[in-house]
């Protein structure tokens, strides 16, 4: 699971209002090279929740990879180094084993072989 997907996932349990972002607990992760495409990054940037991305990157141990404040889109477009770091954080870090924790209920969604198990129990639907 890449941080791009983590940035989109929310807790689906019935009645939960504050189910985003899910806290990432990574036990095993790998770095895979992904083709760099500036157009995609610029296009997806407005949709990204920056604090969630920072939080996820931090839980993998990357404290200084990205700035704390979300950069201005114009800055992002011109700063190639920042763009590459954004690319690396969003698309190249893959969580293989671990879990996602709902911030409201504490429910754990395990991640196995890179696949988060988001199946809800009957009483959670």
């Amino acid at each position: 699971m890449r941080l791009l997907t983590h940035n989109m996932l929310a807790c689906n349990i019935k009645g939960v209002t504050n189910g985003y972002p899910l806290r990432l607990e990574a036990e095993k992760w790998v770095e895979k090279e992904v083709e760099f495409n500036a157009d995609f990054l610029r296009g997806v940037f407005p949709k990204i929740n920056w604090p969630a991305l920072i939080g996820a990157a931090r839980s993998l141990g990357f404290h200084d990879l990205l700035p704390n404040e979300a950069p201005d889109p114009s800055v992002l477009a011109s700063d190639d180094q920042l763009l590459r770091q954004f690319h690396r954080a969003l698309l190249e870090l893959h969580v293989e084993e671990g879990g996602l924790v709902c911030p409201e209920t504490g429910r754990l969604f395990p991640i196995n072989k890179g696949i988060p198990n988001m199946l809800l129990h009957e009483d959670e639907v």
């Binding site: 791009l4 997907t5 689906n12």
Partner: protein, 294 residues
């Protein structure tokens, strides 16, 4: 052979043996690839070369997702069967996979997805696989959450094999209630085997999107179906029963038209005679046209 949906719930039907077919059967692979290409075409994404973030609902073994990757897009795939997802892992698909039940909702935050495809999957929502399943509620949860996570103007193209008219209507109603506009595009409507129905849904007011494309016909040219709506403002929908072409030909055979009915009756009587049954002799009264009230 009964439909898969009538044999077992999807997470059980798509076990390791069934999942293996999706790696080894070249026929299945070819068909799924074609359908995926067509679905992507119907998504009508801008032709600007910018990769988009798409959903593949019921991604299974990742066959459809590979089509998305080949076209340069990033995607997130959902499936309920671990066996099928394992096959996708083996193929080393580029999209992210999620083990989830679409009937429980799509679980993504609002307005983040540029488009969604689904190949031969959403009909599973219509079957109540356990006592807590309520198909209408599941359809509502699915379409509602799908609508929310799509950006304005984004499309969802869902190819499905619905069992009958009731199912198609149920699905269509749920989609409309969730706020979607759109209709059904049918390719090769007159061929039982090649016939494919795509539910093309759009997010946003009807005036925003272009009209529905026409379905493909046998000779490669576009054919327009009578019920299909090309008009933006009219949201009528063409619903098709998959078995209609077959039914039509059967009725023609058994037809009570002049000569046809009698020939068939005589043929049948002969067949039974050859089998050895005692059959009344053929007389001038055999298969004679009776008065209506008879």
């Amino acid at each position: 052979m009964t439909r898969p949906e009538l044999q077992a719930p999807p997470e059980i039907f798509y076990n390791d043996t069934e999942a293996r077919k999706y790696t080894t059967s070249s026929r299945i692979i070819e068909i799924q690839a074609k359908i995926s290409e067509r679905a992507l075409e119907l998504l009508n994404l801008p032709n600007d070369g910018v990769p988009r973030l798409l959903l593949d609902i019921g991604c299974g073994s990742g066959l459809s997702g590979e089509t998305l990757s080949e076209n340069g897009h990033h995607w997130i795939g959902f499936d309920i069967s671990q066996s099928m997802l394992d096959v996708a892992l083996d193929r080393e698909v580029e999209g992210d996979l999620l083990l989830s039940d679409m009937g429980q909702g799509v679980g993504l935050r609002p307005s983040v997805i540029d488009g969604a495809i689904s190949i031969s999957a959403i009909q599973w929502l219509c079957y109540a696989d356990n006592s807590s399943h309520e198909p209408v509620a599941r359809l509502k949860a699915f379409f509602g959450s799908l609508y929310r996570c799509l950006t304005r103007g984004a499309r969802a193209v869902l190819q499905l094999y619905s069992e009958n008219m009731n199912q198609s209507e149920m699905i269509m109603k749920a989609a409309m209630r969730a706020g979607f506009a759109g209709g059904v595009v049918v390719d090769f409507p007159h061929s039982t085997k090649a016939r494919k129905a795509y539910l093309v849904l759009t997010c946003g007011p009807a005036s925003m999107q272009t009209s529905l494309p026409k379905g493909k016909a046998e000779d490669g040219e576009s054919c327009s179906d009578d019920d299909e709506s090309d008009d933006d403002d009219e949201q009528t929908v063409g619903i098709y029963d998959r078995h209609r072409p077959a039914k039509r030909s059967k009725i023609a055979k058994m037809g009570k038209g002049k000569g046809k009915g009698k020939a068939w009756v005589l043929k049948k009587k002969n067949q039974m005679r050859n089998k050895g049954y005692s059959v009344p002799p053929d007389t001038k009264y055999t298969a004679r046209k009776r008065k209506d009230r008879f």
